[in-house]
């Protein structure tokens, strides 16, 4: 088995033609084979030869441009490009390993036709076959937002074969930022934003940033290739950025007061995508688990919860949801749920428009100015069961209310738009501070005048 990888790496046709491949192993790596090991190698080679012989049978027909009429009236191609297939990593995998329903004597014919509703349905069914060999990747995929969407019945969410042609899989290194494939197939706008960003440009320019060779991230570096996650939830995005920009806290600490809090509350893109539209995003946070609260399977969509609250006479604002959600938890125990607020950029596209360091926002006044908060959009978001964030607009005043002191207890923005009750109290205090001296002075003058008149 020591050499099985080396043998399988040889293009299938060469492996069939000759056993000389084994003699190409560098001298330094050659080891003495025991008779038992030689027998194992011989058996493996024999099994491979049998598989390829069987595949040859399939390819005799399927190398041609054949199609099948599906139930939905569309045609599905049955063609497998022989050369591409045999030279791919799957070249030594027998066809029936995946197409197990079509083994010997089970091949559909005109009399024993297999009905396929649609190509999508067939692909969803076939997706399971990848797990046989790629168990780890498949498990990662099952935990992804893509898989969750497929489970919800999405007809667009990608399956394994959407990114990896099963009959001509290519190596991971062939996924390049310049093309953006396969992600760009679905996320074109986001990829275009990425391409124009400091990250995309660096990659296009040979991964050179400030005369240094730095590996610039591509989609999968941040989002992962199989366990694809929605980075907009909580502070996942920040953790992702810091994974490469390790000294980010140190650099900000040199000029930014309360660096830790800023990095906690303000998403990186808010300052580093300077032209992106910003929002205050309030989300429900599970304090016990230490993660943003996720909707459970069977939960009413948050809009419906809002409508229900409004129907019961509630205001439908996020504080009401907090109250409604705060009363229970999955196991029936009182839930420790609070609202947290973060500054985010408006969209996924904006989150990818990262500019160079010199363009980043560095003036306090860009956020800390009177009435600034009033101009910002406020959204309320929840994590859906599939892991994606769902946001909807909320009243802009919601962060400035007295109730917010308790409900959004971890968020305070200096100079933004302080709550009005405190403003009134300040004016009152100022008025008292001015009126008491003036009043006392005037009273004294009046008494003195009165007494002076009395003396006369």
């Amino acid at each position: 088995m020591v050499y099985s990888g080396a043998i399988f790496a040889i293009p299938a046709e060469e492996a069939l033609a000759t056993d000389e491949a084994e003699t190409e192993v560098p001298v330094a790596e050659q080891v003495e084979e025991s008779p038992a090991e030689e027998a194992v190698i011989d058996k493996a080679a024999l099994r491979l030869a049998e598989k390829l012989k069987a595949n040859e049978k399939c390819l005799r027909c399927h190398k041609r441009d054949k199609t099948k009429l599906l139930e939905d009236g569309k045609e599905m191609s049955l063609q497998v490009h022989k050369d591409e297939y045999l030279s791919s990593a799957h070249g030594e995998v027998s066809c029936v390993s995946c197409h197990s329903a079509i083994g010997k004597r089970k091949h559909p014919s005109k009399s024993t036709n297999i009905t396929i509703t649609s190509e999508r349905e067939y692909t969803v069914d076939m997706n399971e076959s990848c797990r046989k060999c790629h168990r780890q990747k498949y498990t990662q995929y099952k935990g992804s937002v893509h898989s969750a969407l497929v489970a919800q019945g999405s007809t667009k969410a990608p399956l394994c074969s959407s990114c990896h042609n099963p009959h001509a899989p290519v190596s991971m290194v062939d996924y390049q930022a310049e093309t953006g494939l396969p992600c760009k197939n679905c996320h074109e706008n986001i990829f275009n934003a990425y391409s124009a960003s400091v990250h995309g440009q660096a990659r296009i320019n040979g991964n050179t940033i400030r005369d240094s060779h730095i590996q610039s991230p591509i989609c999968s570096d941040c989002h992962h290739s199989h366990e694809v996650t929605a980075l907009a939830i909580g502070d996942v995005l920040r953790t992702t950025c810091i994974a490469c920009h390790e000294n980010v806290t140190l650099l900000h600490d040199q000029w930014l007061p309360n660096t830790g809090t800023h990095l906690d509350i303000v998403s990186c893109a808010v300052c580093h995508a300077p032209f992106a539209k910003r929002i205050f995003d309030i989300h429900l946070y599970d304090n016990t688990a230490g993660v943003p609260l996720a909707m459970q399977e069977g939960d009413l969509p948050i809009q419906q919860q809002l409508q229900a609250i409004a129907a019961e006479g509630g205001t439908g604002d996020p504080l009401e949801i907090w109250k409604a959600r705060g009363g229970f938890s999955q196991d029936g125990a009182p839930a420790d749920i609070s609202l947290r607020s973060r500054m985010e950029v408006m969209s996924g596209v904006a989150a990818h428009q990262i500019a160079g360091k010199s363009f980043a926002v560095r003036t306090c006044e860009s956020c800390h100015e009177p009435g600034w908060r009033k101009k910002q959009n406020v959204t309320v978001s929840v994590t859906q069961a599939d892991g994606r964030k769902q946001s909807f607009e909320a009243d802009r005043e919601v962060l400035s209310t007295v109730k917010a002191v308790d409900s959004i207890s971890d968020f305070y923005e200096l100079g933004g738009n302080p709550n009005k009750l405190l403003d009134i109290l300040l004016l009152l205090s100022l008025a008292v501070g001015i009126a008491v001296p003036i009043g006392h002075f005037t009273l004294g003058k009046m008494i003195k005048e009165y007494m002076a008149r009395g003396e006369k």
Partner: protein, 224 residues
Amino acid sequence: MMSTNPSEQKQPDAWIKTKDSELYINPLPVRIWHWLNALGFVALILTGTHIRYANLFNLMSFETAIKTHNWVSFAVIANYFVWLGFYLFSDKITVYHPELNMRKFFDKAFKQMMYYGYGIFKGAKSPHKVLPYDKFNPMQSITYQIIMLLVVPIQFITGLMMWDVKRFEAPIAMMGGLQMVNTIHVLIYIFFVSFTLIHAYMGALGSTPATHFREMFTGYEEEH
């Protein structure tokens, strides 16, 4: 405990300097603390207002306001310990001893209020005789006890928490979150806005408007 009865007060000794008809009421550490504190409070109120209503007055940049507020805060905190150290390690602590007899306290406080509300205008003498070991009238006494031992420390603590939110994350959470800490800090700031104005005005209620100010610089007060 020292008696608050003027007749039982310690007689001026070598430590308490006298100058003709004046008593040495405020020793140097108290005067230094008072005036540094006064400057600090004014600076903190101005920069605090600038921070809270950012750029409303366009006096300085937000960054300068934050930095000034932080530095002045630390100076005021350090200065507080000058005050605390002096009173803890000298027998002058008696000036802050509370009047525990409530009837006596309210009686004196009422007389003091009557004085400020009426007597002062017709040239009456203050019912409280200022002495080195009993310099505060009942109203000053209760006000300064609350301010120096409760309000000011709370302001320091909440300010310190907001100076480095991350470092003080746990105590902030214990107090109910950043918004709560900020609200407490702002409420005390609001109180100090009127307190500072009224305090300055009352400082001008001496025999001449400048009398008490001069006294707070020299340490000597007229016997009255």
